[in-house]
């Protein structure tokens, strides 16, 4: 298929960006979206132009690096996939595809389609851990039985890849789904209880400090999340926060 790509180009964080149109031809429907971007970049390199910078790494939907806003949707039109798992069979010959970076005050653009997500890092530094040293004499793993239900639910929360699609898609640029998932993973496990109150307070405080917006329960984040992280996690985070406030 032949396509027109309308792509956000921005030299660096201080430059003013703009949308630029490119044409790519003979794209196979079996290609992944990023392989289509490779074709464009090879074309640009060969014609002496600067290729489009975009984040990507594992190309199997787990590292959370890729982050394209395609035709107004985080990770594009398919559901339950990251950009690297999106395939060109979702598009038609002659389409014009608009490609933008994640847009959020807390995710400034570094170059073209690459954004700075270190705000997510700082939220994790504020409490995304259980304080246990590596010693070699931690108690036996089976000494803490955990109900299968709780373990599975914690796993569902822990499956978040930290890509930031939730923020990009939210009209308030809220990071509550991301933070809620992390808080939930530990809140659901007995190992996480000791520090639960401090953890949720510190992580939420850092989230606010970074300039993420509030949650107005539109649920867009849950729909666009490539890993199907549930809104329940936001509810759980709020419960944990209230519990912590009453302590």
């Amino acid at each position: 298929m032949n396509l027109t790509l309308r792509i956000w180009r921005q030299k660096d964080s201080s430059a003013k960006g703009q949308m630029v149109d490119y044409k790519v031809n003979d794209i196979s429907e079996h290609m992944s979206f990023l392989e289509m971007m490779d074709v464009l970049n090879e074309q640009l390199v060969n014609s002496g132009e600067e290729p489009v910078a975009f984040d990507h790494d594992c190309r199997e939907g787990i590292c959370g690096m890729c982050s394209l806003y395609i035709n107004g949707e985080a990770h594009g039109p398919d559901r339950g996939v990251t950009t690297c798992q999106l395939h060109m069979r979702m598009f038609n010959d002659g389409d014009t595809i608009t490609i933008e970076p994640w847009r959020a005050a807390a995710f400034p653009v570094i170059k073209d389609l690459v954004v700075d997500r270190t705000s997510f890092e700082r939220i994790q530094h504020a409490g995304g851990y259980i304080s246990v040293n590596t010693s070699g004499n931690t108690q036996d793993a089976n000494a803490i039985p955990i109900s299968k239900h709780a373990a599975d639910e914690a796993m569902d929360a822990a499956t978040c890849i930290g890509c930031g699609a939730c923020v990009a898609t939210c009209k308030n640029s809220s990071a509550m789904l991301f933070v809620g998932a992390k808080v939930s993973q530990y809140a659901l496990l007995p190992q996480g209880q000791v520090e639960a109150a401090d953890r949720v307070k510190n992580m939420v405080a850092q989230m606010d400090l970074e300039g993420f917006g509030n949650c107005t329960n539109t649920g867009a984040c849950e729909i666009e999340c490539p890993k199907g992280i549930s809104l329940d996690n936001i509810a759980r985070m709020n419960r944990e926060l209230i519990k912590a406030a009453l302590k």
């Binding site: 790494d57 590292c63 851990y129 108690q139 299968k148």
Partner: protein, 670 residues
């Protein structure tokens, strides 16, 4: 320099304990005056950085991604081995040790492997304490599954995302130390050289990938945990950015590079679909617990399937060749990876491949769905269940076990693997070879350590499934933090290492010169052009089967591509900005050297062992006819190569392997 593996004396089960009791320690106050650089933040680097910081050292950690959590350990699916014997099926440290040495086709160092088995149980304890949500049974205890090459269930898992969960565990431990200021994290930074002062590794030169700035970082020791070199094949299951640069740079400064030809081609990956392909996707080995691998018995059916006249589900049981079950009745579909890969290649080379390219075999879950469905019908007291009901019940179980993998397959291939068998084919996945290290995990450069996949140590010529995660975390959590202390105890009076020395000047200049060369070369061909050509030579001539003629050709061809690369590569953009093409150029330049050494190593090793298969060395008769033939008399050694300029001029050093606790014999999975 003669190789000294520094294996402690004494019986194998006491070596590590005795060693720990006798090494020098650094007191907590002095640890505060010692700096350590850790390059790479996957399972090995991440766990090492966190643990060293917990101990009190000042750690500087480097990752090329925008967060340590994105290192490619995250993509490991199936699980992590540990000799916990929770299933009561006869597992023990010795058995894990034995399986690993045997699985590695007797080309690993016994003492290292035993230590690995010994600390494996601690890893699970540590991860659970960190909040890693491993799969559990209804009693709340940890669940296990089986992996290839073993007869026990010792693999712990978190759905099909075990690597992700373990890495997030190490990352959370890092976060705690970053918050305390004990780890200074350098995201989006790439190490471009190691700096050696007075014969010791004392720092690195790194490039800030956002600004292009070249930075000097000093430390009392440097730890490399940057993963394997599978991307030398261009197409592999590695991440796009996975590279050998850090390992190759230390090699060029004096670290020997061991057994580069020991590379794992993983049997169950999604077959390639076209020339535009940028990477290959793994389907976890755990699928072989329930999936059965086959191709049609009759060529007519192969042709009919390729032409779309027949579907795989049209073939009766009698018309299928479950070739692994046929050839290896004892282990069946759970033979080790090298054996499974070669068997798939053998069938496809004979013309039985089931897709248009002729490079695919089936991985079929129909039997498992039936088996689980019938079991569920019993559990739910459903008398005389219909075929549909059995299928429905069975599918639910398969979905619960492998749902995310099935979904991944469907998204890529656009076929429903519950209804039609998956198509799979081998692809480059892991490199057992790597930087040579002694028992302390130190390279031949004093003060320069190498951990995880980047070193060569534990897997011999073939790695067993679910052992990479085990080794990465063992090195980082439980081995390096001890061994490095012994070395650093000499450095308590050294003080800060200055970065204004001539050694730093020189290393920085070399890095800058190379970058300037790339951005000013104005050639005519892209970096990928050369990388793809290299990958094709590697796959065709240094792939699953190798011979003398092909390897000699490969060495010459790689040299040729390398020369063309340096004349004609085109890198757009400038040095002082984010420039992904420039990053790739540096990495591919190193692959173009490593690839030639790889072929040279394969040429030297005139035996077949593990992932290294020389067509000249096969069993000619008897029960093992056609299987790989190892030559212990002449090749029971680690090949450690010393850099001498051109890869073809590398000098071989042999570390003779001694097998005191395991009898050397032919691997048989029949």
């Amino acid at each position: 320099m003669a190789l000294d593996s520094k294996i402690p004396e004494g019986p194998i089960q006491d070596k590590w304990t005795n060693y720990k009791n006798k090494i020098n320690l650094v007191n907590p106050a002095n640890k505060r005056n010692i700096d350590i650089i850790v390059v790479g933040t996957g399972l090995a680097g991440g766990s090492a950085a966190a643990t060293l910081a917990e101990l009190g050292y000042n750690v500087k950690a480097f990752a090329y991604q925008d967060s340590p959590r994105r290192a490619h350990s995250i993509a490991a699916q199936g699980g992590i081995n540990a000799a916990k014997n929770y299933q009561g099926d006869g597992d023990s440290n010795y058995r894990l040790f034995y399986d690993t040495v045997k699985g590695g086709d007797y080309r690993s160092r016994e003492a290292n492997v035993y230590r690995l088995a010994e600390v494996s149980g601690n890893i699970i304890d540590q991860c659970v304490a960190q909040g890693v949500p491993f799969a559990r049974d209804y009693g709340g205890l940890l669940d296990n599954r089986s992996f290839g090459g073993v007869l026990v269930s010792r693999t712990f898992y978190a759905k099909g995302q075990t690597g992700q969960q373990l890495l997030l565990g190490a990352y959370s431990a890092m976060n705690r130390q970053i918050a305390r200021g004990k780890i200074e994290m350098f995201n989006r930074h790439e190490m471009l050289d190691v700096v050696i002062v007075d014969g010791k590794a004392r720092g690195i030169i790194a490039r800030n990938l956002i600004t292009g700035e070249i930075e000097r970082h000093s430390a009392h020791a440097v730890v490399i945990g940057t993963g394997g070199y599978g991307n030398v094949y261009f197409l592999s299951t590695n991440a796009m950015g996975s590279n050998a640069t850090a390992a190759w740079k230390i090699h060029k400064k004096g670290a020997y590079f061991a057994n580069p030809c020991f590379t794992q081609i993983h049997p169950t990956c999604i077959p390639r679909s076209g020339d535009y392909q940028s990477k290959l996707t793994l389907m976890s080995e755990s699928l072989r617990n329930d999936g059965r691998i086959w191709v049609p018995k009759n060529m007519d059916d192969v042709i009919a399937i390729r032409e779309g006249r027949k579907k795989p589900t049209d073939l009766s049981e009698e018309e299928r060749d479950y070739y692994l079950e046929r050839r290896y009745p004892a282990f069946g579909n759970l033979v080790p990876r090298d054996v499974a890969s070669r068997a798939a290649k053998e069938r496809c080379d004979a013309g039985y491949g089931v897709n248009a390219t002729g490079e695919a075999v089936y991985l079929d879950f129909a039997s498992a769905i039936q088996r689980y469905g019938k079991e569920q019908a019993k559990i739910h007291n459903i008398a005389n269940p219909s075929k549909e009901k059995i299928y429905e019940l069975g599918q639910k179980i398969v979905e619960a076990k492998y749902g995310n993998l099935f979904q991944m397959y469907e998204k890529i291939v656009d076929e429903n693997p519950y209804k039609t068998p998956m198509m799979i084919y081998p692809a480059t996945h892991y490199t057992m070879g790597g930087v040579w290290v002694d028992y302390n995990l130190m390279t031949t450069i004093p003060g320069c350590y190498c951990i995880g996949e980047a070193n060569f140590s534990d897997h011999g010529a073939n790695r067993l499934g679910a052992s990479a995660l085990m080794q990465g975390l063992a090195d980082g959590y439980f081995v390096l933090p001890y061994t490095i202390g012994d070395y650093l105890s000499d450095d308590i009076r050294t003080g800060k290492i200055p970065t204004n020395s001539p050694e730093f000047d020189e290393a920085e200049k070399a890095v800058k010169d190379r970058i300037d060369f790339f951005v000013n070369n104005n050639g005519t061909k892209s970096v990928d052009h050369f990388h793809k050509r290299l990958g094709k030579v590697m796959w065709d001539k240094v792939g699953m089967a190798r011979n003398e003629k092909g390897l000699k050709e490969a060495m010459a061809e790689i040299k040729q591509i390398r020369e063309e690369f340096w004349k004609d590569v085109k890198v757009p953009g400038s040095a002082n900005e984010m420039n992904p093409e420039l990053e790739k150029a540096g990495r591919v330049a190193d692959f173009l050297e490593l690839g030639e050494l790889f072929a040279k190593d394969a040429l030297m090793r005139e035996e077949s062992c593990g992932g290294h298969f020389r067509e000249e060395s096969v069993e000619l008769d008897g029960e093992q006819k056609g299987e790989a033939k190892r030559n212990d008399k002449d090749f029971a050694f680690v090949a450690a190569w010393e850099y001498k300029g051109e890869p073809a001029d590398a000098v071989l050093h042999k570390e003779q392997l001694e097998f005191k606790d395991i009898e050397l014999k032919q691997r048989s999975y029949k």
